[in-house]
């Protein structure tokens, strides 16, 4: 995963976190700007749902703001933030399981240009058709991810997409590193089987793109 300026800023945000912890509103606002996309995408991959991801993201940062004073070590900010996000994800997952609601997009996503993803794919200076294929592949892989259990999914997303170390994931989930690695192993193994079932391989992906 190529590091962007944002990633670098996130990695070197200790002083920012320290100031935010002391009540610096400006620093708190910058922290939100730095981490919002990561927490949103973590939640989105967990739920495959924009609204729930927005809900979790906002709750996570509200909670961060309230509880940042209680953070003991600045270096553990990342795992601490993901801990909050995971807890809200689990809470929302319980609510979702109880309500069993569906998005209209899930009921009838459409195909090709009729898909709602077609409209979402039109970014400036990009080939819309190529972007659409990327978007459809992304959603297909996301659907595969959704077939994993919550525990495996959390670990896979944190490791594979959020780039946390096993130690940080263990801290965030409050489990041992070995358990994290074990979940990761079985999570990847499960994904392998799912991809095989759906006949998704490196080659087919390369052909599609």
């Amino acid at each position: 995963m190529a590091e962007t300026l944002l990633d670098i800023a996130m990695m070197h945000s200790d002083s920012l976190i320290a100031r935010a912890r002391e009540g610096d509103k400006n620093a708190q606002g910058k922290l939100v700007q730095l981490w919002y996309k990561r927490i949103y995408n973590f939640s989105y991959k967990f739920f495959f749902d924009h609204d729930l991801a927005m809900e979790v993201s906002q709750k996570t940062f509200i909670s961060m703001h309230k509880n940042l004073v209680g953070l003991q070590e600045v270096t553990r900010f990342k795992s601490w933030l993901y801990t909050i996000a995971v807890n809200y994800c689990r809470e929302e997952a319980r609510k979702k399981k109880a309500s069993r609601s569906f998005s209209l997009h899930d009921l009838n996503p459409g195909e090709g240009e009729e898909s709602y993803r077609w409209e979402e794919s039109h970014h400036r200076n990009e080939n819309p058709e190529r972007q659409l294929r990327h978007s459809e592949l992304s959603d297909l892989l996301q659907a595969c991810l959704m077939e994993l259990s919550h525990e495996q999914r959390e670990v896979v997303i944190m490791k594979e997409y959020e780039g946390l170390k096993f130690r940080e994931i263990a801290e965030a989930l409050n489990i041992s590193e070995n358990t994290v690695k074990s979940r990761m192993y079985y999570g990847l193994d499960g994904l392998k089987k799912i991809l095989e079932q759906k006949k998704i391989t490196k080659e087919t992906i390369g052909y599609e793109l």
């Binding site: 995963m1 009540g23 606002g29 939100v32 700007q33 919002y36 996309k37 949103y40 995408n41 989105y44 991959k45 924009h50 991801a53 927005m54 993201s57 906002q58 940062f61 509200i62 703001h65 309230k66 004073v69 990327h134 978007s135 592949l137 992304s138 892989l141 996301q142 595969c144 991810l145 896979v156 490791k159 594979e160 997409y161 170390k165 096993f166 590193e177 070995n178 690695k181 074990s182 990761m184 192993y185 079985y186 990847l188 193994d189 994904l191 392998k192 991809l195 998704i200 391989t201 490196k202 992906i205 793109l209």
Partner: protein
């Protein structure tokens, strides 16, 4: 060699988080068990495939969080509401003091006024019906008295004017008469007598002519009447005579018939008996 790596070791190797010693040990194991390496590489392929799941672009919304923990007492909602109400009341009181508003409701009329009360006369509140009637009757009585006094005064003035006018006229006439000479008076009287005489003469002449005409008419009418009466009497006598004559003739005929009958049947007895 009984070494068999567990899932944790394999995953740590896959992600490059295995220490050098363990990594070498595992690589040696893979040389012995290439199927395990192939299996691990498949997991690597899965990672590569899954890496195509893109991040969604999102813009961080503004997050406004209230400082609930460090909020001073005067910023608590209850105190702020109380202060707000107090400030509103204070404002109203100040405005009331400055503007001097007056809100009055009486007899179905709501009146809101500001500033000094106007000097226009206002009806005193609480007037009863009897009092109003009494005021009206008093006012009427005063009005009547005023009208009567005015009328009396006018009458008096009118009478005075008339008296003055008549007396002045009489004075003027008397003055005129007193100024006339004896001769003029005599002339006037004689003239007056002549006029009276002429008037009487005309009257009698006119009266005598009318009476004469009337008498003539009356005599003519009376003679006509007598003539007519005589004519009617004659006609009556004539009629009577004719009637008598007729009766006489009839009697005469009957008598003749009887005599004729007696003569024609002298010896016959009546058989009817």
């Amino acid at each position: 060699m009984n070494y068999k790596p567990d899932e944790s070791t394999l995953i740590a190797y896959l992600y490059g988080e295995l220490n050098e010693k363990e990594a070498k040990k595992l690589e040696a194991y893979f040389q012995q068990h290439p199927d395990e390496l192939a299996s691990l590489r498949k997991l690597g392929d899965v990672r590569e495939s899954m890496s195509h799941a893109q991040d969604k672009e999102v813009i961080a919304p503004p997050v406004f969080v209230d400082d609930a923990g460090v909020r001073p007492l005067w910023q608590s909602p209850y105190i702020r509401v109380s202060i707000g109400i107090a400030a509103s009341i204070l404002f109203l009181l100040t405005a009331g003091k400055l503007l001097g508003p007056e809100i009055k409701y009486s007899e179905g009329e709501l009146r809101i006024s500001f500033g000094k009360k106007s000097e226009q006369p206002t009806q005193s509140a609480g007037l009863s019906e009897e009092k109003i009637n009494e005021l009206i009757s008093t006012s009427l009585a005063k009005n009547n008295e005023s009208i009567a006094a005015s009328r009396t005064e006018d009458q008096r003035k009118l009478m005075q004017t008339l008296v003055d006018f008549n007396s002045k006229k009489m004075d003027a006439l008397t003055k005129t008469v007193s100024q006339a000479s004896q001769e003029q008076v005599r002339s006037f009287v004689s003239n007056l007598q002549d006029q009276n005489l002429k008037l009487m003469k005309d009257y009698f002449q006119l009266s005598a002519a009318d009476q004469k005409k009337y008498m003539e008419n009356m005599l003519v009418d009376f003679s006509n009447y007598l003539q007519e009466q005589r004519k009617q009497d004659l006609q009556f006598v004539q009629a009577k005579v004719n009637s008598l004559e007729k009766n006489n003739n009839q009697f005469k005929q009957e008598t003749e018939q009887i005599l004729t009958s007696l003569i024609s049947n002298p010896g016959k007895k009546k058989n009817n008996y």
